[in-house]
């Protein structure tokens, strides 16, 4: 099914659908996320039974600050749908999709690791790529970049966003 067809089918239950660049995206509320993912998976016309990816984007100063993004695809029908959930800075929590898609396990751990978004109900939500004792959420836009101390006369290489040349 093409993106417009998917959008029409999804719009009946979840009205906030956008088709852009031949890709369909639907925004759902945090409380209806699991129901939405489950219905897209089980709908015989969509059969979005494969979760390709979970990640997030960060827009500080905007509400919702974080958008958690799920890329669904269908192993039989070869089409895709993006599901997005907006969460606020004060309460960056979404329910875990591991019950519906076991593959979400590591994807959600990575998203937690990078953005500090908490996935409620995840079986083992801890950092995955960064060390366990790392402080901060490195892919948040507000995270300060580090530079490099050198042994050449105590010179310091500033991070890329503070370089003057």
């Amino acid at each position: 099914m093409n993106a417009a067809g998917i959008a029409d089918r999804v719009r009946m239950s979840y009205p906030e659908v956008v088709v852009s660049r031949e890709e369909a995206s639907v925004s759902v509320g945090r409380d209806e996320l699991l129901a939405a993912l489950g219905s897209f998976r089980d709908d015989p016309g969509l059969r979005l039974d494969f979760l390709s990816s979970v990640t997030a984007t960060d827009r500080p100063g905007v509400d919702p600050r974080f958008w958690v993004v799920y890329e669904l695809s269908s192993t039989e029908l070869h089409h895709r749908l993006r599901v997005k959930v907006g969460v606020s800075d004060e309460d960056p929590r979404v329910p875990s999709a591991t019950g519906l898609f076991p593959t979400a396990d590591w994807h959600e751990r990575e998203t937690y690791d990078f953005f500090g978004v908490v996935f409620d109900g995840h079986p083992e939500l801890r950092r995955i790529l960064l060390p366990d004792d790392w402080e901060g959420w490195p892919l948040r836009k507000t995270e300060e970049l580090g530079g490099v101390n050198t042994r050449f006369h105590g010179a310091f290489i500033p991070p890329v966003d503070r370089r003057t040349s």
Binding site: R21, S25, S52, T57, R82, D105, R127, L130, L139
Partner: protein
């Protein structure tokens, strides 16, 4: 000897002492520095004798912040970052990233550039599968396969080097096309390679396919059913060896893959041996595609879009020390045209601005679905680049494949997933 301490009639230890022994399991770390972990992968294994009770993969030792880095560089510079993630399949990283940016820009590379992308991707797939064959052969004791695999891979890398200036991390694919056309003798050297390679694959098969040791180490080892594989998100040869013919090149064609004649290789063994057969078959299919690319490349044509607001301004050539600006172009901007110099300066320092939006573009890498989720806020730098790396997701299936098996089989299973930790950790 008292009666209650005597051995049971069958000579087995008493129930009490069995319980005593079974209670003791051993926790061992395999990796992060272990010759058979394909990089810096650490597996925490709980063993009962030789049997694996549980397995916890621990990753992140090679995390280099590639996704974050791209947010602070121009769109064009992003290519040089993503190519370093999965270092055994650099062309796939470049193609996936460039396709995503081109989709945001609403442009398409010229036909010849698309053929060159397919050509290099398929050559790269063969090279990557050869590294897999060589290393997993070595790990299971087939040292000669290791030598043969690296020998043929070296020929592919020579072709890459002649065309791009570099053996790895080529940054050859650029937004709007590829950086330059093949060298004059490029098609000839690829033709020679196409002549010899099928025989070489036969050679590997004659060494392994019927080899009793190879069969014993692989057949029935590391089973992962199609249902389980799909549930944990496994893609690529590891999934196709369990039956489903899921291949992005066929399901959601890009770069003109729908116009090439090739088969999606599958098997139903769902074990390490089936994964071996699938990858051998994929190398033969890749050769078929490369052959078709060579025929299409006989007609000349542009390899980069014409739009001066998108294309990289320089004319690059391979010099003695890698890719560099051609002397003719340097003369042009330094001595002939002030406007060309201004344009060059603006494109190099500021780069191209990409209209706001978000896209997800998957490509079929040697390890499965490599997806790029790219977000633009309209600026000259990516707002977010997320790489959905297949190695990262496929590794999740390790516990299912090794638990309950022997510790020696862990080696075969890891080899059969073919993870590249540069891609896992990014």
């Amino acid at each position: 000897m008292t009666a209650d301490r005597a051995p049971s009639p069958a000579g087995e230890p008493s129930a009490a002492s069995t319980r005593e022994i079974r209670r003791e399991t051993m926790l061992i770390n395999m990796g992060p520095q272990h010759p058979s972990t394909h990089g810096v992968l650490r597996l925490l294994l709980e063993l009962d004798g030789e049997t694996v009770l549980s397995c916890t993969p621990i990753v992140g030792y090679l995390h280099t912040g590639i996704e974050k880095n791209t947010e602070y560089r121009t769109w064009q510079q992003g290519v040089t970052f993503v190519t370093r993630a999965d270092y055994l399949s650099p062309f796939f990283n470049e193609v996936g990233y460039c396709l995503a940016v081109e989709k945001l820009l609403g442009i398409e590379a010229p036909p010849r550039a698309q053929v060159l992308r397919v050509l290099f991707c398929e050559m790269n797939r063969i090279a990557s599968h050869l590294v897999w064959l060589a290393t997993s052969g070595l790990e299971l004791g087939a040292v000669s396969v290791m030598l043969y695999g690296f020998r043929e891979r070296e020929r592919i890398l020579d072709i890459f080097e002649a065309a791009t200036g570099l053996r790895m991390n080529h940054a050859y694919v650029r937004i709007g096309g590829v950086v330059m056309d093949l060298p004059d003798d490029g098609l000839d050297s690829i033709g020679d390679f196409l002549q010899t390679m099928p025989g070489r694959i036969d050679e590997y098969e004659s060494l392994l396919t019927q080899n009793p040791i190879w069969i014993q180490r692989n057949l029935g080892v590391g089973r992962l059913s199609a249902k389980d594989a799909l549930a944990v998100g496994v893609t690529g040869p590891t999934l196709r060896a369990a039956g489903p013919a899921r291949d992005v090149r066929r399901d959601e064609p890009y770069s003109g893959y729908e116009t090439y004649d090739f088969d999606v290789v599958t098997s139903d063994g769902a074990d390490c041996y089936a994964r071996y057969l699938v990858r051998i078959g994929e190398m033969r299919q890749s050769l078929r595609i490369v052959q078709q690319c060579v025929e299409r490349l006989r007609e000349p044509g542009p390899v980069m879009v014409e739009d001066p607001k998108v294309r990289w301004p320089a004319h690059l050539e391979v010099g003695p020390d890698g890719i560099g600006n051609s002397p003719r172009y340097i003369t042009h901007i330094m001595e002939e045209s002030m406007e060309a110099l201004i344009h060059h300066f603006k494109m190099v320092t500021e780069g191209v601005s990409v209209p706001p939006g978000e896209v997800y573009v998957p490509v079929e890498s040697p390890r499965g679905e490599l997806g790029f989720y790219v977000v633009s806020d309209g600026g000259n730098r990516p707002y977010r680049v997320k790489m959905r790396d297949p190695s990262f997701v496929n590794l999740q299936a390790t516990p299912q494949m090794v638990e309950g098996g022997l510790v020696a089989d862990v080696i075969a299973v890891i080899a059969s997933i073919d993870p590249v930790l540069g891609g896992v950790d990014r």
